[in-house]
Structures are given as structure tokens and as C-alpha cells.
């Protein structure tokens, strides 16, 4: 009797420790999402089928035998392979995915901070306080166009340093802290807090945030992706000078419920190397403030987005991997989704919630992905217009 209960307990325990994962066919491969570390894997379809069988509790020896017969290989070899898949995807340590909540013991939120800024986003007044000019410069340059005089505010974000860490508090509630060399995560969290307030959606309602530029023709939007220096922001500025709307630059949030691209109110960053290209369209850039980021050794100016309605959200029409190459002829072609997926995922924040990961995979699978290489700006603008009209 004892053994029977022990067996039942083991079975139940095994069910609990089984990994949570999703499988989605994309082109000729299958993408597997694993709840452990929110990881995506691109697999051969046969491998994905084996993992699926293992997850359904089919005995690994049966699976190995079938594979051995199918491939005419010795069962020892297929069994080793199937066992490896079982260890990797099914028998996971349940403690490996534990997210410890940060302890803020001994941390006190300062009452008054030396730098105060007020921003107006739609009808929302936001107060942002910083304990140094340097901390202020991590945020302020991108939002300077939204600055207003001191007034009654809806909520307050406080940024301060203690114990060699940078802290973010919202409405006197500590949110998170980071070591100084991870200040970019602080910037990301600050932006997350803004989109939560602007669009009234908590973090679990977002599918992901993409490192891209979002351009809209008012009905839908295209996401422009690519490594830094490939011209994402410059092409966004050029496209907005030719009648398109800027939805977001650098930080593009997508909603999990409707999978639409939501506006983010940051200004477009313009590097020194893009000034000559953009000055004919934006003469105001010649007089705009130039920010010198000493640590990153770069000079940047900020261009106000032409879209003032920061509640805007539109469906995504496609992904464009853009590349500026000097003297290159214009080239625009559809690319396979597996390649696009491999470029997209490592550069994006994707919700670790299973339901959102499933929606992300469905959303991505339905998108068209393009690669656009250009050197001539007019040709690039004409080509993007064509993409919006479904003409490749």
C-alpha cells in the first residue's frame, strides 16, 4: 500500500516538475519556447515531434525504438539522443527558474531630490526626480520636448543612488535597483513604467518591447530593425518627413491582447553622422541641443516625433531589417522567417508569461519579414511606401 501511494506521489511530482513549453512550426522548422529562462529554440520538425511525444508521457524507449526503425540506426544511438532530449526539456529542476524578489532592506527613499522635471504626455503630468544631473541625463534628453512647468502631477518617479546602485521608485514604492554598469536596464524600466501609465497596462499585458523604429501610415505600422548604426532612427526621421507617422523610436511596445504597436513618446535620436542627411528636412536640428555622452563617447541631438497623440496604437504590417550601405544599390526582398526570428529574439524583451509567449509566436508566424538595403534616401522612402501598399 505504501509503495502504491509513493508511486502516485512520484507521478504527481513528476507532472509538477515537467517543463512548460510551447511548439510552433515556422517555415520548415519548429520553434520551441521553454518556460525555463524564457528561452526559444529552433529545432528540426522531427526533433520537435520527439519532444512533444516525451511531454505526453510516451515512454522514451518506445520513442527511441520508433526512431531507430525509421532511420535504420542502432537503438542504442537513438536512445542516447532521446534520453538527452528528455533531460534537456522534460526533467527540469523546478528550482532553477525561481525568480527571487529583490530585498530593499535598509534602503530609504530620499524625500527631496536635487533635480526635478515635469513632463506632459497626452493629458498626463509626470514628475521625475533625480539625485544628480548625471542620473537626470539618463532620461531627460529623450523627453525634453515634453517638459512643462511645475504643476500638479498624476505620479512621481524618483531616481537615486545608494550603496553603489541606482534605484527607481514610483509613488514612493521601490521598484528595482541596478549596479551602475547596468544603468541601461534602469532606463528600460523607467520606460516600462511610462508605457504602463500612458497606456494603462501593467507589465504582464505587454507581449514584448522591440529594439526598433516604428513607422505608420495611420492604418498600420512597420517595424524597422537592425544593429546600431544601420540607420533605423535616420530612416524613421526621413520617413516622417515624407508623410509617415513616428510611433516609436528605439523602444517599441507591443500589446499582448491585440498585438498592436503602441506609441512611445521619446524623441528620435540623431547621431552626428546623420545630421547632413536630415538637416534639409529638419533645419531646426542645426539649433537643437547637442548632448555629449562622455562615457559612451557619442554626440546626439534629439528630434521631436511628429505624432503628438501618444495614445496611438496600430496593427503591425511587417518587419523590415534595414541596412544602410554606402553606394549600395537598393535591394528589398522577403526573407525567411527562421532567419528573421534569429535576428529578432536576442535583441528584444519578450514577456516570460506562457500565454504571452504563445501569442508572440502566433503573431510572429503571421508577419511578413523583409530585408531592405539602401544608400539612396529617396529610393528607400519610395520602397517603404511600396511595402505599405503591398508592392514588393
Amino acid at each position: 500500500m505504501f509503495y502504491l501511494w509513493f508511486f502516485v506521489f512520484l507521478k504527481l511530482f513528476n507532472l509538477n516538475i515537467q517543463a512548460i513549453f510551447l511548439l510552433k512550426p515556422i517555415d520548415d522548422k519548429t520553434v520551441l519556447w521553454s518556460s525555463r529562462d524564457n528561452q526559444y529554440l529552433v529545432l528540426e520538425n522531427t526533433t520537435a515531434l520527439l519532444v512533444s511525444k516525451l511531454s505526453k508521457g510516451i515512454d522514451f524507449e518506445d520513442i527511441s525504438r520508433d526512431l531507430s526503425q525509421e532511420l535504420s540506426l542502432p537503438i542504442k544511438e537513438t536512445a542516447d539522443f532521446v534520453l538527452d532530449l528528455k533531460k534537456r526539456f522534460i526533467d527540469l529542476d523546478p528550482t532553477s527558474n525561481s525568480n527571487k524578489k529583490e530585498s530593499f532592506e535598509g534602503v530609504t527613499i530620499p524625500g527631496v531630490l536635487s533635480v526635478e522635471k515635469f513632463y506632459k504626455i497626452n493629458n498626463l503630468i509626470i514628475k521625475a526626480c533625480f539625485d544628480s544631473q548625471e542620473a537626470c541625463f539618463l532620461i531627460h534628453p529623450k523627453f525634453e520636448h515634453l517638459e512643462v512647468a511645475e504643476q500638479k502631477h498624476e505620479f512621481c518617479l524618483k531616481t537615486f543612488t545608494q550603496n553603489a546602485r541606482i534605484f527607481l521608485a514610483v509613488e514612493d514604492q521601490l521598484i528595482e535597483s541596478w549596479p551602475f554598469d547596468e544603468a541601461h536596464f534602469f532606463q528600460g524600466k523607467f520606460s516600462m513604467q511610462l508605457i504602463q501609465k500612458i497606456h494603462n497596462k501593467q507589465e504582464d499585458k505587454w507581449l514584448g518591447v522591440f529594439h526598433a523604429s516604428a513607422v505608420s501610415n495611420k492604418n498600420s505600422a512597420m517595424l524597422f530593425l537592425g544593429d546600431s548604426g544601420n540607420g533605423k532612427s535616420t530612416s524613421l526621421a526621413l520617413l516622417q518627413a515624407h508623410g509617415f507617422d513616428c510611433i516609436a523610436d528605439d523602444f517599441v511596445p507591443v500589446d499582448a491582447h491585440n498585438q498592436e504597436i503602441y506609441s512611445f513618446p521619446a524623441a528620435i535620436s540623431v547621431k552626428k553622422t546623420s545630421l547632413d542627411t536630415l538637416l534639409p528636412f529638419y533645419p531646426e536640428l542645426s539649433d537643437s541641443k547637442e548632448y555629449e555622452f562622455k562615457v559612451a563617447q557619442k554626440m546626439v541631438r534629439y528630434l521631436k516625433p511628429n505624432n503628438n497623440d501618444f495614445s496611438t496604437h496600430v496593427p503591425c504590417k511587417g518587419l523590415v531589417f534595414i541596412k544602410y550601405i554606402k553606394d549600395a544599390p537598393l535591394s528589398c526582398k522577403k526573407i525567411d522567417k527562421v532567419t528573421a526570428f534569429q535576428k529578432l529574439v536576442p535583441d528584444s524583451w519578450l514577456s516570460p508569461i506562457k500565454e504571452n509567449a504563445a501569442i508572440f509566436l502566433d503573431w510572429f508566424a503571421a508577419l511578413d519579414c523583409f530585408e531592405l538595403t539602401y544608400s539612396n534616401n529617396n529610393e528607400m522612402v519610395a520602397q517603404v511606401s511600396k511595402l505599405f501598399r503591398d508592392e514588393l
Partner: protein
């Protein structure tokens, strides 16, 4: 003589060898997978750096329209 016959029976034809190689190539391909880790948190790019408030970090310079 007997030994020679045994060796002959273990030989396979070129066609069989190619088939076997194809099978192993298929099997090896099954184990090929690409792991992709999304960013742990949303972040802008590229990082601008932070020294903890002891420096100005960034300096904003207003350009004069009349000066080149």
C-alpha cells in the same frame, strides 16, 4: 581463405555506404538546435554609461543658429 571470405561479407557497396552516410547526416541534423535568449529586461540601445552621479555624464550644449 576462410578469413578472406569473412572480410568480404563485411564489405558494403558504395550505394549502401552513401545511404548510411545520409542516415547519419539526418540523425546528426536532428540534434542541431539554435538557442535564442531574449533580453532579461527592456532596454534602450546603445547603453549610455553611468558613473553614479559623480560626473555630469552627459552635457547638453545649445547650438547658436547664427554661428556655423
Amino acid at each position: 581463405m576462410l578469413k578472406n571470405k569473412e572480410n568480404q561479407s563485411k564489405d558494403i557497396t558504395r550505394k549502401q555506404a552513401l545511404k548510411k552516410m545520409g542516415t547519419y547526416a539526418t540523425f546528426a541534423a536532428l540534434g542541431t538546435m539554435v538557442m535564442l535568449n531574449p533580453l532579461k529586461a527592456a532596454q534602450p540601445s546603445p547603453p549610455e554609461g553611468f558613473s553614479g552621479g559623480s560626473q555630469n555624464g552627459a552635457r547638453g550644449v545649445r547650438r547658436n543658429k547664427n554661428k556655423k
